[in-house]
Symmetry: D2
Subunit: 258 residues, 4 copies
């Protein structure tokens, strides 16, 4: 495609305003750091945050997004259900979604996986080494066998997700745990990538490997199609043999609201 990919980076954007330690690292918010970090000619990037009207995710914005990134942490509950449904519907139509770090517990990720998305955790600035277990995958291009983050929050197994369609990274933590730190899913016509790095108190979104993975994931998740949900009542393609039953129609199927 010669057309640019429309990317919307969504961020809760409260830690950066409320906590000095975070503000120092990301004075303009994590969304801005990521936007700068992955900026490229083929990407048309905008950002949106929790405290904007409709969280910055109006019908128009969601309609015109090809790939959405999602970072949230302590305020998942403040995201309106209506907006979550809007985003979910759009993913199932074909939009890509990249869920970052504590976004594992976001309403949108839980709605799309159907599972708890729970995990173990610990915050001692320990080292994580992310092993590339899918070296032929578009998401890992330019990443070597592994990369390291000197300080990261530990996320540990078991991780309450469906078996990923493709496992991309496994994280090794200094404190003794492992985690499926990169996991790819297909849902409806959309692609989803969960990526573990990004605790707010460490400068993870300046790491060039992290940014490269996110940039790769955006291009991988960019949709080829957009297909509206439908449950059509269709005519037979072949001749139906005579039936000796009389059958009453019990009702017309209505496509339920998502």
């Amino acid at each position: 495609m010669s057309q640019k990919i429309n990317v919307t980076i969504w961020n809760e954007f409260r830690h950066e305003k409320e906590k000095e330690a975070v503000k120092k690292i990301y004075p303009e918010g994590m969304h801005s750091a990521i936007a700068k970090g992955i900026a490229a000619d083929d990407l048309n990037i905008r950002t949106a945050t929790l405290d904007e009207p409709e969280h910055g995710l109006t019908e128009e914005v969601v309609e015109n997004t090809d790939v959405m990134l999602w970072w949230g942490h302590c305020h998942h509950k403040d995201v309106a259900d209506e907006v979550v449904k809007r985003v979910q519907r759009r993913v199932l139509e074909g939009m890509g979604l990249i869920v970052l770090h504590s976004g594992h517990y976001s309403k949108i990720f839980k709605a799309l996986t159907g599972t708890t998305c729970s995990l173990k955790w610990r915050e001692v600035a320990e080292k994580e080494r992310l092993w590339n277990v899918a070296p032929a995958h578009p998401i890992t291009q330019g990443i070597g066998e592994y990369f390291e983050l000197p300080n990261e929050e530990m996320y540990g197994e078991p991780f309450g997700i469906p078996e990923p369609d493709e496992l991309i990274f496994i994280g090794w933590f200094e404190g003794g745990e492992v985690f499926r730190s990169g996991a790819a899913f297909r849902r409806g016509n959309g692609k989803i990538f969960y990526f573990q790095p990004g605790h707010e108190t460490y400068p993870v979104y300046y790491n060039e490997n992290v940014l490269r993975v996110i940039g790769n994931a955006v291009r991988w998740a960019a949709p080829l199609v957009r297909i509206k949900d439908a449950a059509p009542n269709v005519e037979p393609l072949e001749k139906i043999s005579p039936k000796n039953v009389s059958f009453g129609k019990a009702g017309v199927l209505q496509t339920p609201e998502l």
Copy 2:
């Protein structure tokens, strides 16, 4: 296990009261027909229906269910969200769930798959032949290469579900369509089986192959474990090397309500 499997068969149970054609086939409801059809010494079967208090799915009932069956059609919306969450939580803890026919559009199936669950459909009493594509699977034991239903509602592809963990049956329809008529999923600690047969205007739940598949699925889905959701903050198992960063804790993770 010498212990019996506690089975709860849930049915919308309105067509059978409101429509003569359906009442004739299932005078006591589809749930009763299925309960009789799969009755066996190792199963402890109860039923529950939409119009009972809490739809018959009180905390106590759900707590004490190992495998739940679900048939719904025109009144999915009348199922209380709170009850749906209760059932979903229980599946993720380990309960089995068998979703029948038009239950594809139930709130519980959509919540667990995360997808539209949409499909094509047609109601002309046509023949369906279900091909067994997993002859070594517990669910297909005693079923031959295929079985036929002389009259069934057509459900056609594309079916809006995640790629099944195991594809069990593919349906061939007289009118020219195909359908993934038996599909198995693992979600959390629970197993889910979607099974296409069961339109209310045909006597499908008296068919011995259909009953055998359902009975097999109940035993397959019976849980080995029950694991409550948790997101523990854990101590390191290995010594953490000294860090030259000071890191502020940004907040304590709360396990969100499902």
Copy 3:
């Protein structure tokens, strides 16, 4: 990539020389018909056939192939094991492989799947309708909900393959069977697509939908990487704690020939 994709179309090419019915349809061989049918600026296409030296698949040819197509039928046994291993090794390094029709029983497909690849079959020129069950997949772009072949050999389930990583097409046959007619696999660093159409006595490889699917599959299977097999003995990345066991090295691991 601005670089062209190097495609090698391999064909058994005996039916076309020996059987009048086939020769009439494909006077220059199926490989030539496919080559013409998918010709495009981004593809650099060559062909190779069984009766050439090394079946036309010399080290040099295989080295310089990005995506290989494979059609074989009655002479799978005549393909030299050494050539099969060469192709398998190349797939695992990253080459794409598209296995056509009766190639399901080729040595190369069986080697890569590990399974019998058996199926039911019947040759009565019946109609096949291929349902697109993955409308967002690169392989199905430009194909509608389904396409039909007026005459095709029936291939029926159960099909002795591993669960595909992505199911793309399900075939409906006039005579009453179904088949996983399009199935995608990842093996090592390579992508594999099995595609059912192509019985030699019908002009299937002139069908524009079939050609479009093959062309799409070629681009989907084109590799991003080439990674040579290795089993490195590596140094620790972290300090190993003192051990109070003396351990003798039992032997150095040798990477076995494939």
Copy 4:
């Protein structure tokens, strides 16, 4: 089933005879240690080793085995191809196969996966912690969240296997690597479990968690069916419409030898 499961534990059994360090740990061979370790009333266990005639895996033995265990290391090449095919055929008919440690490079595992099965490795007696990522799976029953081996050979990612149907354990290694240390596959009618622990110079097969996993895996892999390979030429189940093509039969499909 009241019937016992017929288990055959196959071992290369050369290290134990040739190397003092190994002989001390397993004077009667690893196969004997495992046989004693998993002995139970529902199992009928025999052993077989490389240097017996036909490696102890005669037609009769293989015919009468429900689940086979496989440990090999430096002498994979000495296993006769004919015996490998016999075992592979039997797995595809329904036999379970449990591949242990360096068996990752055995002919039988490579034949069934179709891939290189390569990995990183290091032999410094380091600690491995195996994380249970599938707590509801039959294989992990009785195992807690993780278990540790004080000394194990490191096996590291990327591991050259197809995406497992179910990932069971992820290993954390003291030296900084991770590994998919427990991985379950379905192939044909058989189940396969790869389990990483078991380097010959450490007493791994006396570890109660390791033995419990192996015992669980044996019961999980025990077959429900045995289905001989076939590719039947079948009659139509539905009436075929008249065709205006004359089609010559191009040849009768022969089921190839595996």
